[in-house]
Symmetry: C2
């Protein structure tokens, strides 16, 4: 029988793979100025430190690191992670589970909770990778209304009463793709609504440390009394995405299910990678490293916003206080997907915004990343993009 007779699982109906990762292939050309990814700057990746740490931990604990580990985490990392998470969340340390990048955290949380047809409320637009994750669990994605201060609690309550969701998925700080941050005064109401209606909140917060202005805000998790909020954390943006180390923090009962799901997902996160991040925490290397990254990213963001101020009337854009992204809405009549070909021909890349909407549409929007281009490249690329847009009007 020819393999073309194969039937793939229903969960793939309508899922054709990450549009962003396809765009990455398209733009992998020398000389490309990419505003498309969510990649840290190469200069932000601490290669020398990691090289020294890797050699040290393997010399000191090589046999333990190379042997099978516990699904629940590499013991020294569990210890340092708990202290770190307590500080991050500003609340009594809940249970933690190290995972293979916070992408795995979302996958395990869906595995633990989502039956086909269950509703998940999502910001609209939202992070493409996790939208795909939720779709592969055959969840029904329902948008919840936001404004420039993030999710609107009253609208959230309306959506909960209408759709009876299993989960709310939110990126409260410097959201991907919009850069918007959930206002301080909306955080407790969201935790309260979760407990009132019994809705899990997946608080995905990988960008919180990349703050270039304003004061840090308390996590939604810090207002959680009953355990309905699960915090998804990542070291991808502050140490290295290539190491694939993240964590989930939340109630023991939920994390136990996630750990069982993880047993047959990848047994455990590689010990070496956990041991490397552990040393960053133990040696208190993060605060200084994050300060250095943020200095540079602040200049890059400023350059991008300065260029956007020169864009034709009718262009709207967010002014984030941190993170990696600026969200742009082009003047009426323009289509960011069509313009991408022209941009790529001039060696500039971005991601059309339509991909980030659960329901498509919004063809005028696009996402710009500023962390992975130098200030000079940002001026050059943003200038080229402005010309392309002006020409198309």
């Amino acid at each position: 029988m020819d393999l073309s007779a194969i039937r793939f699982a229903d969960r793939f109906d309508g899922v054709s793979g990450s549009a962003i990762r396809e765009i990455f292939k398209l733009i992998a050309k020398p000389g490309m100025i990419s505003f498309a990814g969510g990649n840290p700057a190469l200069s932000a990746l601490p290669d020398e430190t990691v090289a020294a740490i890797a050699q040290e931990v393997l010399t000191d604990h090589g046999k333990v690191i190379l042997q099978y580990g516990a699904t629940e985490g590499y013991p020294p990392f569990l210890e340092s992670l708990k202290a770190y998470v307590q500080e991050q969340l500003g609340c009594e340390a809940p249970s933690v589970l190290p995972v293979t990048g916070s992408t795995q955290a979302m996958d395990l949380l869906c595995k633990a909770l989502i039956n086909p047809g269950d509703v998940i409320l999502v910001e609209n637009p939202s992070f493409l990778g996790n939208l795909q994750c939720m779709r592969l669990y055959q969840a029904r994605l329902m948008p919840v209304e936001s404004d420039e201060d993030g999710i609107i609690p009253d609208k959230l309550e309306e959506a909960i009463r209408r759709h009876h969701p299993k989960m709310l998925y939110t990126i409260p700080t410097f959201q991907n793709p919009t850069g918007i941050t959930l206002a301080a005064e909306r955080r407790k109401p969201i935790a309260d609504l979760a407990a009132k209606y019994g809705v899990i909140v997946a608080e995905d917060d990988p960008y919180r440390d990349l703050r270039y202005a304003g004061a840090p805000l308390p996590s939604i998790k810090s207002f959680d009394r009953e355990g309905w909020v699960v915090f998804l954390g990542s070291f991808s943006k502050i140490i290295s995405p290539g190491l694939r180390v993240g964590y989930m923090a939340g109630d023991e009962r939920i994390l136990r299910k996630c750990a069982i799901g993880k047993q047959s997902a990848d047994v455990h996160t590689a010990n070496l990678n956990q041991a490397i991040v552990d040393q960053f925490l133990r040696r208190s290397l993060l605060p200084g490293h994050i300060r250095r990254i943020c200095q540079s990213y602040r200049d890059q963001l400023d350059a991008m916003l300065a260029e956007l101020a020169l864009y034709p009337a009718g262009t709207r854009y967010t002014r984030p206080e941190g993170g990696l992204f600026v969200w742009v809405e082009l003047p009426e009549g323009l289509d960011a997907k069509t313009l991408l070909d022209k941009a790529v021909a001039r060696h500039v890349a971005y991601v059309p915004g339509t991909h980030f909407y659960a329901d498509g549409g919004h063809e005028r929007t696009l996402r710009l990343n500023f962390s992975n281009a130098t200030v000079e490249q940002i001026h050059q690329g943003m200038d080229a993009l402005r010309q392309i847009i002006t020409d198309a009007m």
Copy 2:
């Protein structure tokens, strides 16, 4: 609302976590002689080599290694892996996908193919971790009859005609838990049946290089003309399980679905871990390393079999030519689960065989691992176990 109101997903109904990993916690005491795990010997873990390689690859390619990578794999590793797989499988290189341990390979294959209720044929007994994986995809597991030469092709055809399975899951070489190897002359018939009926074969072959006697056998994949066989490979038993690097090899159409599933599972396998295994392949370090491991494991297996020869009449056991496990059936009236407590009290551990059966039962059976104890510990532990068994008769 109290969190006790939470409803977990249906896929967890009847799944309570890996019994083996629970036993690991029970026996994590100093002085324990463990025949329970599937762990390589500590002496088999190349910690010094990995320490040197990690430092080198991070020094030479640190920025690339710490940055996001492609879901399809770290390019240098993809290159060396293709050559390695071609040699391993003895056939034209199919597509390969690096994964986070071969456990992830099984997870992605089920994600790509299995709808709830789909039938998967399994050897009975089989590997616990992957049985749990298949259960979490809500597959119906149906045993296929085997003898001392592995799956019986006629019985397989009967089972296919009766159950219309989506997949056959098999560990053809030094099977976990039995140590049994699928006879050479049964391999082509199984590939042929897969193509005849359009059944995917998941050929899980992590132990094939751990051969202490006899000649290597061709993979089932090498007889596959139409693409129905997917080979799941691992570096856990020949380099390090803690690094979590494995691969799948098979038809591009299947691997593409798996890669899409992997995008939202963990984005990509950590580059550092792929780069380390890449260097083992590039520097041809594996043949010598495997030869050294096998010398030692052969002595350990011989010691275990010599002890088993002294066990009371009515004890039956397999005599594997490789791998990590010996399978034992105790004399009638004994229960391996009950005896485990007594064994642990005398600092000896094993896994009761009942856990490896899709349908439970078989209380007289147990699995013994010989790789993670010295020859002296094997004599000591097997002697203690013999006394416990004799006392219980």
